[in-house]
Symmetry: C3
Subunit: 340 residues, 3 copies
């Protein structure tokens, strides 16, 4: 298996059988390929898409709960005509002392593709190396969560450009300003997204409470790319310039005091009043679940992209599953038709 940077590129046939453990495996052509494929799948009638992976089986392995990611992968596989069985940590042989590698190898005997959520960084790569079948990382600790990054970029393209244009993500996002808001220190999704956007022609703006700023490990990567970046104190003064706000969950318990939380939350809570001062069409994204940081009075506004984001995620995961499972070869089809 190829885990090298850029190993997943514009040759769709070469994706068959590959694992995705981190987003750096995709070069720009690879990113465009998977998102263009997502666009294509959403444009096709569901009945037609149902024939793509008919009879294929996904092992959905979650060592920690994550309803949204789990349901999204399950629905993606079902929409392709495949089926799913689920393994949760509580019922897994890990409790009997089995290594992750042995579990992955065993499940690969039953399934055609594995999806793994695991609390430990690096777990997805270990499973992918052990498994004979493609293994997709659905989040491994503070490590990677590549399908979240894919769906976030896809959502930005859909919201700003209505799809994936001929020029790909580069054309879709050219000249756009994307503001990341909230707890940028602990938010795994904003780290991945910032790194993925580093080489595009975008302006990144960070708004975080004191002590929860974007870490140097991320800003260093961005500074080596073509994107610009800056940090500002509050959202209100910059919101008129932003094409998208990517809001992350802020946990009250990260603050020294409830008083400090109440005093500062105005700078990163998005509500309908704030959006009246925003650029026309400014999209509000959020990885969900949200608590207070996007007010419910935003839900009915066209700016509210966070539920559409869920749906974009479904298509991004369908595209990814479809690519790594590959199409049956002509020979397979012929054998099936002849009953061989």
């Amino acid at each position: 298996m190829a885990f090298a940077p850029g190993s997943l590129s514009d040759d769709a046939a070469a994706w068959k059988g590959q694992s995705l453990v981190g987003v750096q495996q995709l070069d720009e052509a690879g990113l465009n390929l998977v998102l263009a494929h997502a666009e294509r799948l959403r444009g096709q009638p569901r009945d037609k898409v149902l024939a793509r992976q008919r009879g294929k089986i996904l092992a959905n392995v979650f060592y920690e709960p994550s309803t949204r990611t789990s349901c999204s992968f399950q629905a993606a596989m079902l929409r392709l005509g495949g089926s799913v069985f689920c393994v949760a940590e509580a019922t897994s042989s890990a409790k009997k002392g089995e290594t992750l590698e042995d579990t992955a190898r065993s499940l690969a005997c039953y399934a055609d593709v594995l999806v793994l959520r695991h609390p430990e960084s690096g777990a997805a790569k270990r499973a992918a190396v052990a498994s004979r079948k493609p293994t997709l990382n659905a989040g491994d600790g503070v490590g990677e969560h590549p399908t979240q990054a894919l769906l976030d970029v896809y959502t930005l393209c859909r919201e700003m450009c209505g799809g994936i244009p001929a020029g790909g993500v580069r054309a879709a996002l050219a000249g756009k300003t994307i503001c990341m808001v909230g707890d940028l220190k602990h938010g795994r999704t904003v780290h991945s997204l910032a790194k993925l956007l580093a080489n595009f022609d975008v302006a990144l703006v960070y708004v975080a409470p004191a002590g929860l700023e974007m870490p140097a490990a991320v800003t260093d990567v961005v500074s080596r790319g073509t994107a610009s970046q800056k940090s500002v104190d509050a959202l209100a003064p910059v919101v008129a310039d932003c094409d998208a706000l990517y809001v992350t969950r802020v946990q009250r318990e990260r603050f020294e005091s409830q008083a400090l939380y109440e005093r500062t939350k105005g700078s990163y809570v998005v509500d309908a009043a704030l959006l009246r001062t925003a650029k026309k069409g400014c999209a509000v994204l959020h990885p969900l679940p949200r608590v207070d940081e996007v007010a419910t009075d935003v839900d009915a506004l066209p700016n509210a992209a966070y539920f559409r984001q869920m749906e974009h995620g479904l298509y991004a995961r369908m595209a990814l599953l479809d690519l790594v499972l590959g199409r049956p070869s002509m020979l397979d089809g012929l054998r099936a038709a002849l009953g061989l």
Copy 2:
């Protein structure tokens, strides 16, 4: 969405996209429609039924466990050719502080229909309002459990009339005597059933231990309808007049003492000896699980309708799912055929 009384009536096309949160949404024509559709589905070859909702996805969301209801909905969706993913409270984002509304809205991005079991009264309506997809109440606390009421009426019709006659439930149940036995105070199913039967030409007889009688809130509703009702002390004297016994679970811990339980249980336990004195063909229903209140020596008798009741529930839920999912439009079919 239409939650008004009688909003689900005899126009099948109008059911498409609707939610069912309470049984009062169905008028008599609506009740007849769904039960006649259940009859039709059970009469068709399984292969043919499998084509009805091929590729459609059910999100089966259970915030409290209920094996029977959950399995019944899953099997119903699978029998229609659809597929299912399950969400349990233990793995849901509710633990991260997400509102039920946000959860419902998110799952509606992945699924075509939602089924919700929730401990709080009113939860199903809240989810149905938030979700873009039809949402079916599988029991919300002391609130509603409309599919249980549907399957109970369907079972009465099947047992007494062999199906749903041209005159509908009204014709099937005309002149029948239905005895409700056991803990009628806490039994949600007997409350819904009594209210649903209030406007038919039936005689309701209640047999409950002291302190566990049918509440006034229910008898008041029945007294405004066309059904007659009376309470009696013991089952034995009335069993010769009953066309059906609806037995509910009696929990020993509801009694002041074990001695009181033992003394009184003879008046509401159904066994083979009692049934030898019953009207010919008297059907014994029970929502299950049972403990002692229906003796196992009844299981082999033709009177034992409680396992058939499970199967009737499967068809009632298939009918309901099929109606709210609707048939694909001619246009959808054409697009699929042309690969558009």
Copy 3:
């Protein structure tokens, strides 16, 4: 239902609707039938196999967790074109005091076949008697685990003979030496396997730490058959004569002291060094999960049959499900085609 010894024999049509609770129900012809059917299914294109049980539903009921067995049955049913719903003890009505018999009877209203894992010996037979649908034992306490025995014999045949020859298991295993290694006292799988092999022309060799030897209850059965058996102290001296090593998990806590464990483990741990002294092609089997008793340096060797064993198990379970579900009758097919 027929639970008598040899009730499942070489008439495939007679398997339809039957339950498998113990391996003694299969006579030699029955064993050959199911394994030959497994061979046939693995040789067919997946698309073709997908049509065999299309639309049929499996209730996968696990009162204790067992990832591997559960996933294997689920995948087997999905590969046949059927679908699955799962019931776990934590969510079952057993908690509400329902008997296993009532649960089985209820689930049989929703599903076409039941698979049951239960901690109590005899539970599978109780469920099979109560259920109207075929019920397969996926392990009941210290009782039976017949599909494990089937897959173990199938693996031995595949590894030694490349499949099931015309002469069946008898021909495949004739003259072979099979060594069982590890905790032979508590290992349910080796007990079943030894008993199943008792009437074939094989030599059984037992290697177990002191106090964990094969029980008399098993050796007595073997002594009445045609297989030879002997116990030896260490694996190294006999490994050159063995065609297969069946290694079982040894739990450190079974030993009086850690020191004793360390001193004796050399006699039953299988590693690459040991296998260099083994007979050419000697296959290493293990029911998994393993801990230390098969070193990971064996994994890359052709001898390592334990992951192939998982896959053989998938086909053995597919064959069993397919036989008890039976093929639709011509009449069923005609009714479906005519839409009756």
